[in-house]
Symmetry: C2
Subunit: 286 residues, 2 copies
Amino acid sequence: MIGAVEAGGTKIVCAVGTSPDNLVEERFPTTTPEETIGRIRSFFEAQQKDRGEKLNAIGIGTFGPADIDPASATFGRITTTPKEGWQNADFAGPLRDAFQVPVAFDTDVNAAAVGEGKWGAAKGLSDYIYITIGTGIGGGVVSGGNVVHGRMHPEIGHLLIPHDRAADPFAGSCPYHGDCLEGLASGPAIGKRWNVDGAHLLPDDHEAWTLQAEYLALACVNLTVSLSPQCIILGGGVMEQTQLFPMIEERVTRVLNGYLEAPAIVPPGLGNKAGILGAFALAASS
Amino acid sequence: MIGAVEAGGTKIVCAVGTSPDNLVEERFPTTTPEETIGRIRSFFEAQQKDRGEKLNAIGIGTFGPADIDPASATFGRITTTPKEGWQNADFAGPLRDAFQVPVAFDTDVNAAAVGEGKWGAAKGLSDYIYITIGTGIGGGVVSGGNVVHGRMHPEIGHLLIPHDRAADPFAGSCPYHGDCLEGLASGPAIGKRWNVDGAHLLPDDHEAWTLQAEYLALACVNLTVSLSPQCIILGGGVMEQTQLFPMIEERVTRVLNGYLEAPAIVPPGLGNKAGILGAFALAASS
């Protein structure tokens, strides 16, 4: 029996089950580390009690930046996040202590990438990228069948892309980098630029989506020349605007201009379950 | 006894030896495929005759794009290069036929990255990038100890970076993408922008180098957020302007702005031998 946690900057999804088909889930908002980890613990404890069975492993896919290096002294902690109260918070530690089981800990997007590779849009692929475009932008990279960690983990949301300020004078909303990808193309960036309370309030044919397709295409081009992926999966709330997919594909092909073939650009095969199934997969393989 | 070939867009380096310490080299310009491969063959044949010994393997690190997938029907060929006469040219095939030995075939920059990891600036590292900035810009990526191939291979020279046309009205020199990294920061791009016959003719304190450091820093930032490398090695003719290294490091740290740590940014440990030693390493491990 496995416990899985998908920890986003705004909400937590917890699940317990023995296979991806029989997960029981609970969702609640992400608040302070103490309260949030306490609620995860309570859910797991209640599930153990109900089933008369103990967890064998826990998998966490978390927002970041986070220390996901098992060899590090601070493994299992959130690091320099702008999210209040979470700087240096120990996430894996309290759950490992409470349940005395192995806790797999990786970023939410790495977990989702693993899930998509196991059961979703990247099934059978060795080189692909999973990107979520929502409150923030993040990505998990799989290269040669392995999740790319590197020194820490990629932070694809902070890619720099050409930004024509004559066409789009919006200065960008990233508190660290201004007009990086996240600053130009996250949900909050779209809302701020067009002065609406949520990107989803803009009509499907609004010029916002032309600009959005352009920025996401430029990011896909940069990832293509850096990693030569077979496929780029675009998920998250903003990509519920499915009209974006053909617009992005057309632009990626146009910008690459025949020098390289464009990768397939597709929605997640697991829909909004990529994160929690990925956390499950992390624990199952730990 | 191993034969190694470093094939650049303008010159070929061939070497024969039994270890990296005893290579005998020959250099000549890259002309047509027939003439160039003919000269490589003649050099290897002469070395075999002189030493009374046969080659056991050949390693080629080549300019690209090239088909480096051993499972592909067109493995060993150059593909869509702008270099005249080389489109779809078979490079590995004629040498395999002539010498009847295994021919390892990868990009020049992947070979150099392997060489730097084995004997150079990235010795012992698992995640690093080797970039050469000269006639063109190319890079080899090592992630988790493995060379990143992906669907084909990365083409880092064609990264897109912010380009402030008010500060730098130069439209870029890349025939495919205009102002991609190579279009803005290769040797020929620098020469064209400042109207000189070679970037090396510009004085060390020319404003060209401030702009160059800026562009290379933006590319290093994009590679850092995509791959989280421990180290980025910058080589090639343009980087003989060693004043660029601290300028680039300072800018990478400034642009990352504390969100991520900057990787080390260093010259190749093998100097201009990274390519040929990398080709040797490719063959030795084949």
